[in-house]
Symmetry: C2
Subunit: 244 residues, 2 copies
Amino acid sequence: MSQTVTAAMVVIGDEILSGRTKDRNVGFVADYLTNLGIDLKEVRIVSDDQQDIVDAVNALRHRYTYVFTSGGIGPTHDDITAESVSAAFNLPCIHHPEAMALLEARYAEMDTEFTESRKRMARTTKGAELIENPVSVAPGFRIENVHVMAGVPKIMQAMMDSIAPTLKGGVKMISRTVDCPHGEGRIGEPLSTIQDANPHTMIGSYPRYVDGKYSTQIVVRGRDKDLVDAAHATVEAMVAEISS
Amino acid sequence: MSQTVTAAMVVIGDEILSGRTKDRNVGFVADYLTNLGIDLKEVRIVSDDQQDIVDAVNALRHRYTYVFTSGGIGPTHDDITAESVSAAFNLPCIHHPEAMALLEARYAEMDTEFTESRKRMARTTKGAELIENPVSVAPGFRIENVHVMAGVPKIMQAMMDSIAPTLKGGVKMISRTVDCPHGEGRIGEPLSTIQDANPHTMIGSYPRYVDGKYSTQIVVRGRDKDLVDAAHATVEAMVAEISS
């Protein structure tokens, strides 16, 4: 008999509780873990308050196999997740040498000053392992069973892809992307039909608005390469038909 | 100096944690309470498990001025919010006489049998006051500072309107509705522009798909009648322009 693998999520951020930003990470993580065969058992949304974060992380990390946090790892003063998670573990919060090197190289490449506030993005709990961020370099980190991720959905999602193969019963998630030159309004309905017809894949759409023009990045994820390829082909055909 | 009025929310339902249903209530309640001047401080999403619901309600009701729950008050076996909240208060869970009368009248009117499972929707904690449900009759209830509401967004929202005038510092929320004969895809962008231009109102859109046709109900809410009227007029003009 296989052991049930469980998880909890902590969403960190005043902007979610005030309503200014609408959370999109809970739904994504819920789908993602279900797809991996991991049971998401509880979610807490807490404010940018160290004690609240410490209490949530400590209540959940002993109770579930994994904890995932999102939010609060940026460069500003109210990004306090790294020190809060460190406090939960009663461990020092440090500038992780590997993260410092990654960010230093990144800012040198962009010919941008690597300021003290940008260095905040290299902070982790002492002893943590980095979680790769293929979108914007600044990494997340894992300490014991707690995974600390960004709040920006696209980055959080890429971090989940980095984490997935390391989880118990976790398998590599395959993802394929379609760049769609239309806004979500035009593709929402056909995309929903494709999702219904492809239940073993997760199809996400991420709107962009650049230079006065709407477009959408459509990402198809799943564990089975053939099913992902099939859904991806259907999405491509749909986009081509709308564009023609 | 006025006292800060705080709140927490408990979202109840396996379907949210599995990803099958995407929560839309947290964002709504966050906006709504911000508009009333009440600080939403914490949200917990828990499964359909009595102990988990009891733990969440008891952890939050002593800590914040108000607790709002959504979900788990329907007629099926997994709707266990009424008995769980009762257990949290160590009070009996009863069929509330007033709720029974409301539902009995409703089902008589519809010439539909008032079955045992439908009677489940009349359950409340003993001593609770009902929360009116103008959408589908089956009420929510309040016991001390805990407000038990439906999970269906449209019903939950109507219940918030019923509750608002009873809250400390709470004022009556004014709402006006526009029936729009187009899907969200066509009105999403102009509606977002109108929302930005009317920051003191909350504009929600609720898509419908009936007889193969998309339409949208647009609801403008706010505390100030003049501001709500102005935003409502702008929405009406936008819908008229698209329709012409």
